[in-house]
Symmetry: C2
Subunit: 202 residues, 2 copies
């Protein structure tokens, strides 16, 4: 395990800091009030955000929460291999947090999903080992990112602030009590404001 | 009343969107957890933010909440004329929301504080009349700004995002259920990220 491995995180949030609703489902992966409104800049305007999207997909290993991999119906549906089809954009090992073990899923293009049942630090350790000199990205969702923020384990945070107000849902930094960051960069586009901060270690 | 008068608002917020604590007092105007940490960029680095500070003080009339004018001890202390000394930076009429009338305070340099007891729309109407062709600024605090945001009365919102996490307090957009904005600009400095949005009227 290299503690020098940089840990990044990208999250699409509303102007009021919300990244997902409390009612996430197969039909509404980000919640029914949100739909895909926080992701239209990626789905419809990708060509206007090449650097941010390259950074988003630049990690050498990823960690994600159980719900981001797929719907939880009480046990694993072994036919479900994630939302991203046969060749996900990760092209790297992805470590999925959860409570129930299941076999690793190997997909085309170098993406694998490995299921980790012993907590966020164990998952990050595996991801760091897999990343080597590369970076590890906390891929989401917001509850998972907040767990890593609470533990002080995120080095660089990139929020993609979509200019809508949602009013209710899971907010970035929910349950995080303090922390100091350094502003790194910001860029305004017609669809979204990209803002990056780096953690200051006390 | 000119409905064409532009209504702006500036607010200093933490990375988690908090602008003040719930325990505001004379000793801690922004709450004990916060102190002046959201305002050090103004108090100690003003020379690095000339455009943002000029914009902050450019309005031709202001509206502010009761608590921003001064501590509420149950009745008006008529010797209290605001936090800003004998010549406040406003240099314009300021309309203070509240429940109890008191006489207008006239200070040097063109600042006056007029007390409005019949609600946010009445205060904004008076400020618009006073501003003429100029802009009206909602000067704060966050609860007052949120009341105007809920009513859809803010045209341009400028958040000055200070890179600290506070965890608990009054958050911008608390109680605002929806809304669509257009990103206008952003600028990163070592102390703060300045981000501006303009309201999209449905």
């Amino acid at each position: 395990m290299s503690n020098a491995t940089r840990v990044t995180a990208d999250l699409c949030v509303s102007l009021d800091g919300i990244a997902a609703g409390h009612d996430q489902s197969v039909e509404h992966p980000f919640g029914s009030r949100i739909g895909f409104r926080l992701h239209t800049w990626i789905m419809e305007h990708a060509e206007d955000h090449p650097e941010e999207l390259a950074a988003l997909n630049a990690a050498s290993a990823y960690v994600m929460g159980r719900n981001m991999f797929g719907p939880d119906r009480g046990d694993w549906d072994l036919d479900w291999t994630g939302w991203w089809g046969p060749e996900p954009d990760y092209h790297a090992p992805v470590f999925v947090l959860g409570h129930r073990p299941r076999p690793t899923v190997e997909l085309a293009g170098g993406t694998s999903f490995t299921f980790v049942t012993d907590g966020i630090e164990a998952a990050l350790k595996l991801a760091r080992e897999a990343a080597g000199d590369g970076t590890v990205s906390i891929a989401g969702g917001p509850s998972t990112l907040n767990a890593y923020l609470r533990a002080g384990l995120v080095d660089e945070l990139r929020l993609h602030v979509v200019p809508i107000v949602i009013g209710e849902g899971i907010r970035v930094f929910d349950g995080v009590e303090d922390g100091t960051w350094t502003p790194v960069s910001s860029r305004t586009t017609p669809e979204v404001t990209h803002v990056t901060w780096r953690a200051v270690r006390g």
